[in-house]
Symmetry: C3
Amino acid sequence: MFELPNLISIHDLSRQDIEVILDTSAKMELVAVERSKELSGKIMATLFFEPSTRTRLSFESAMLRLGGSVLGFADIGVTSAGGKGETLADTIRTVERYADVIVMRHPLDGSARVAAEFSKIPVINAGSGAEEHPTQALLDLYSIRKMMRRIDGLTISLCGDLKYGRTVHSLGMALSKYDVKIKLAAPEALRMKPAIIDEMKKSGLDVVEVDTIEEAVRDVDVVYMTRIQKERFPDIREYDAVKGEFRITLHEVGMMRNDAIILHPLPRVDEIDAEVDATPQARYFDQVYNGVVTRMAILSLIFS
Amino acid sequence: MFELPNLISIHDLSRQDIEVILDTSAKMELVAVERSKELSGKIMATLFFEPSTRTRLSFESAMLRLGGSVLGFADIGVTSAGGKGETLADTIRTVERYADVIVMRHPLDGSARVAAEFSKIPVINAGSGAEEHPTQALLDLYSIRKMMRRIDGLTISLCGDLKYGRTVHSLGMALSKYDVKIKLAAPEALRMKPAIIDEMKKSGLDVVEVDTIEEAVRDVDVVYMTRIQKERFPDIREYDAVKGEFRITLHEVGMMRNDAIILHPLPRVDEIDAEVDATPQARYFDQVYNGVVTRMAILSLIFS
Amino acid sequence: MFELPNLISIHDLSRQDIEVILDTSAKMELVAVERSKELSGKIMATLFFEPSTRTRLSFESAMLRLGGSVLGFADIGVTSAGGKGETLADTIRTVERYADVIVMRHPLDGSARVAAEFSKIPVINAGSGAEEHPTQALLDLYSIRKMMRRIDGLTISLCGDLKYGRTVHSLGMALSKYDVKIKLAAPEALRMKPAIIDEMKKSGLDVVEVDTIEEAVRDVDVVYMTRIQKERFPDIREYDAVKGEFRITLHEVGMMRNDAIILHPLPRVDEIDAEVDATPQARYFDQVYNGVVTRMAILSLIFS
């Protein structure tokens, strides 16, 4: 019997666990459309210590489609927390009296695990610090499996900001449980840290680093693009140069296989040209919807 | 069969369309009290890129009375939108995966139409830029019809800030589909733009401009008062002078017909004296409630 | 038949009224777990003119457990209120059209009573100014009665900031309807105002002031600790001295009776050492949950 008392890190899940979540997500496709009363009476608390409209609304949509209710806050500074310098532990021990499950976004690494330690109700990590965003990794996996009908055997490019993006870290860790080939394509300044590459290799992944976006999109099944943030660059000219190089336009799509797909955790700024949106490879908005069904699955498994 | 795929501008509606909405609003009076499950399982997203507590809560009350659920944001800067420089098109293509209908307030003219173009789910304009606020115009019409038992044949004064107020623009356009006489009464600096007056006249409205609040309230059926905003005046002394002149007090109410009514989109500051609230002419708080039933009608028609 | 049209001040409630609320709270214990549809279709408006995540979420949890819905705002400046300089009276006369009950937190003394005067729907005071927080006092009484199985005959210490804390003022007034002994323990600068002490004595309470936290915790049944706020002290050194003196650590718990309890309205900063949390005397997190059931009782009584 699968147990999902909390969902803190992709590291806590075996491949078997992940498969249960993906299978449950597939079952949720119909429920997402028809809606259900499965979690009627249940209350989800959304504690967003930093704003993330997208992730918050995705979880809320999932909870509402299952018939549950939502309370919480959308953007509270860490310092004012439950107010006035309260510790995270105290905030959690308070909110656990108000709700049946906590969905938390927090700017500090390790915060979700601390929350889970103190909480008597399940905690779902909706992004903690720069390292973990497990539900994003799960919805990415689900998108890949749904769109490509398998994960094993695929070649997947991770592109853009591989140094700071928590999304690619969690996804890389999740993919290491599968038999896939990984291409890493990032500007010099935003390359994935060697320690993480080593960890991926040790877990059996075939990882290569490439230098250009052209190499990243050729001969792969999935291009996973991420946003390159201006504020990562001390020199704005360096950013402008990189921005121009690491973009997907119709030119790059033309180099892709016909059945390959482009994913992106969104929000997208310039790194995928708007013209690309109309191509069959562009699947990042469908990916958004997959986030709702994956989170429905996670909520359903937590309460089952 | 009446179709309401979106509600972007009062210009998109024929008189026939408007009548269907007003008739449906009348039917919603009972539902508003008894509540229903008509939209059970449906999700409304409220995207408020500028704050408007009144309009947002009115829509939420309407959705909840119909048994639906709500998610969204109450006050997000345009620049941070779905976060970090995302375009409105991308925000819409994301949120349409979370909800069944979008209610949007946005500071830019034309934003609601852009949203509707990109959205696969219906979009309701809850105020865009300085021009459009169609649901306010509809609730105003509904208030007039409910309180005066007709619209054709009435004489209606539009007073206050006729230059910047999007409410009077939308209402003026809506009234041009009826056989009414319009008086316009505004301080010199806040007169309605000639282009809009011309448009109203061309559509067959009998429009006269008057100079004083006394002329505005005499021999009319409806006085539609709006707020005069201090920040519109470069010179504070000019504002103070105008503020004193364009006010409704018991003195002006005394000049009104006994069965005439005063409406106001609210919030009201000084332009209607608090003593007026107790007179039978003062109907602006009843107008608030009419906003709930009108929005229930709009939501019901969109999903029917 | 008990009527609860509004809940503005603990002064408005007789001991008999309070007992009805506490008895109803006890009945809500089971409903809080099983959830109900008692208030299905009903809408609660939460108007928080100053933020209070804890109180707001507690009320929302109570309403959701009873099957009702929630709309409102979590943190709106008083000046922008319903927007743009609107009076509280106008905001209330607007919101009463959107909801069935108003829960209001406001920074000004007397604001809740003003709101109730203008409102046609019930108003619950969720904290007004520095004086009143009646639902906190009721949940405190309920916690004491539930944990100690009585209130009459107990000795209760009120500790910490007795000058500015609205919680201790409301609780003191509530306790004056019972036959209890009160110890007051506060730093010199934060002593309870003589007028309030006089009022408590006149109503028959046995009140003594003590100087140290040791005296406060000895030979009492309940220690009610409150937060000492740095910003109350003109000189930071004075604050640091006081902070060190008025703390509950394992040392102080060792002086307490075995069956005595420590309560705290939370948030807690330094005034109760984290080590104390694991002792059987520490009951402040259970107190949080009692807030949910007490507010369920209040909502249920208002609608019954």
